[in-house]
């Protein structure tokens, strides 16, 4: 018996973008970090770009698959790092879903990126506090990491915007 799996055009699009995001995710994990928990989150540029170009459904797939595949590649699957990563990704995907429902012109790449990075860091802190370090002292680090999240969210948003300006013309 032969089983054939039909893959739609969107499936292969998700696969391509996930591959791209996983590559960035893995490369980024080799960068040294000055503060524990601080990461530039460059893979989110792909999520934001996909969100602006193809909509929330595709972006959600890319974001969640990126965390899953990335953790398998790095060997952190089901580890605390993975839990933090997944909680951040799921929350930011959810918040982006709400954000994309905004009437009018809605958010641009910069707004989405900022929204995602703030949602990401807040979810990770809540997750770390609830699951791993239930000590109130943990929250003393929150303002510092939130500042970085805002700054990096803006930077990633700008990168995503210029990416869209260069790529958008070439896609049908």
């Amino acid at each position: 018996m032969k089983i054939t799996l039909k893959s739609t055009h969107e499936d292969s699009r998700i696969a391509w973008f996930t591959a791209l995001a996983v590559t960035i995710h893995v490369l980024e994990s080799s960068l040294p970090s000055p503060i524990p928990g601080l990461k530039p989150g460059l893979a989110n540029i792909i999520t934001i770009t996909v969100l602006c170009q193809f909509g929330w459904r595709t972006a959600a797939w890319v974001s969640i698959l990126r965390v899953l595949v990335g953790s398998l590649v790095l060997g952190t699957f089901l580890s605390p790092t993975f839990m933090l990563s997944l909680s951040g990704a799921v929350t930011s995907v959810f918040i982006l879903g709400l954000g994309s429902k905004l009437p009018g012109r809605g958010f641009g790449p910069l707004g989405y990126s900022l929204l995602a990075s703030i949602a990401h860091i807040s979810a990770q802190f809540s997750c770390a506090y609830l699951l791993f370090i239930p000590h109130p002292g943990l929250w003393r680090l929150f303002p510092v990491l939130l500042s970085f999240a805002v700054a990096l969210g803006i930077i990633n948003g700008i990168i995503s915007r210029s990416l869209l300006q260069h790529v958008a013309y070439k896609t049908p």
């Binding site: 905004l102 009018g104 012109r105 809605g106 958010f107 641009g108 910069l110 707004g111 900022l114 929204l115 703030i118 370090i133 239930p134 000590h135 109130p136 002292g137 929250w139 003393r140 929150f142 303002p143 939130l146 500042s147 805002v150 969210g153 803006i154």
Partner: protein, 118 residues
């Protein structure tokens, strides 16, 4: 940049100082101190009464001092003297221990955070 982007950006940047103020405010001063030997509670004392007292552990006698709402170890029969060097404790949730002598002290106060739950 859309209008929503600008609004979100302004909110995020303007809210940051308040986040710092909220999470970096001074912790509340403790009201009582809980002294433990191993797993058992020896006594719980109010921090507003200045006093010096001894607590016996497996190694010998540790001497503690309460003064002006703060508490410290002043002597302990351990080798490292880490407990003494930690100095004064006064904030709710603060914790110190002389591990060789199995004596630990924890400041209790509003909120009743337990620093030993992890």
């Amino acid at each position: 940049m859309t209008r929503a982007d600008i609004v979100l950006l302004l909110i995020a940047v303007l809210a940051l100082p308040f986040v710092y103020l909220h999470y970096w405010q001074a912790t509340t001063a403790g009201t009582t101190v809980r002294i433990m030997r191993g797993e058992t509670l020896v006594k719980e004392l109010a921090l507003d009464k200045d006093q010096e007292f001894d607590v016996n552990g497996p190694l010998g006698t540790s001497r503690l001092q309460i003064k002006n709402g703060k508490i410290r170890f002043i002597s302990s029969p351990c080798t490292g003297k880490v407990c003494i060097h930690k100095g004064w404790l006064s904030q709710s949730g603060d914790f110190n221990a002389c591990l060789p002598n199995r004596i630990s002290i924890e400041i209790m106060g509003q909120g009743e955070y337990d620093s030993m739950n992890y």
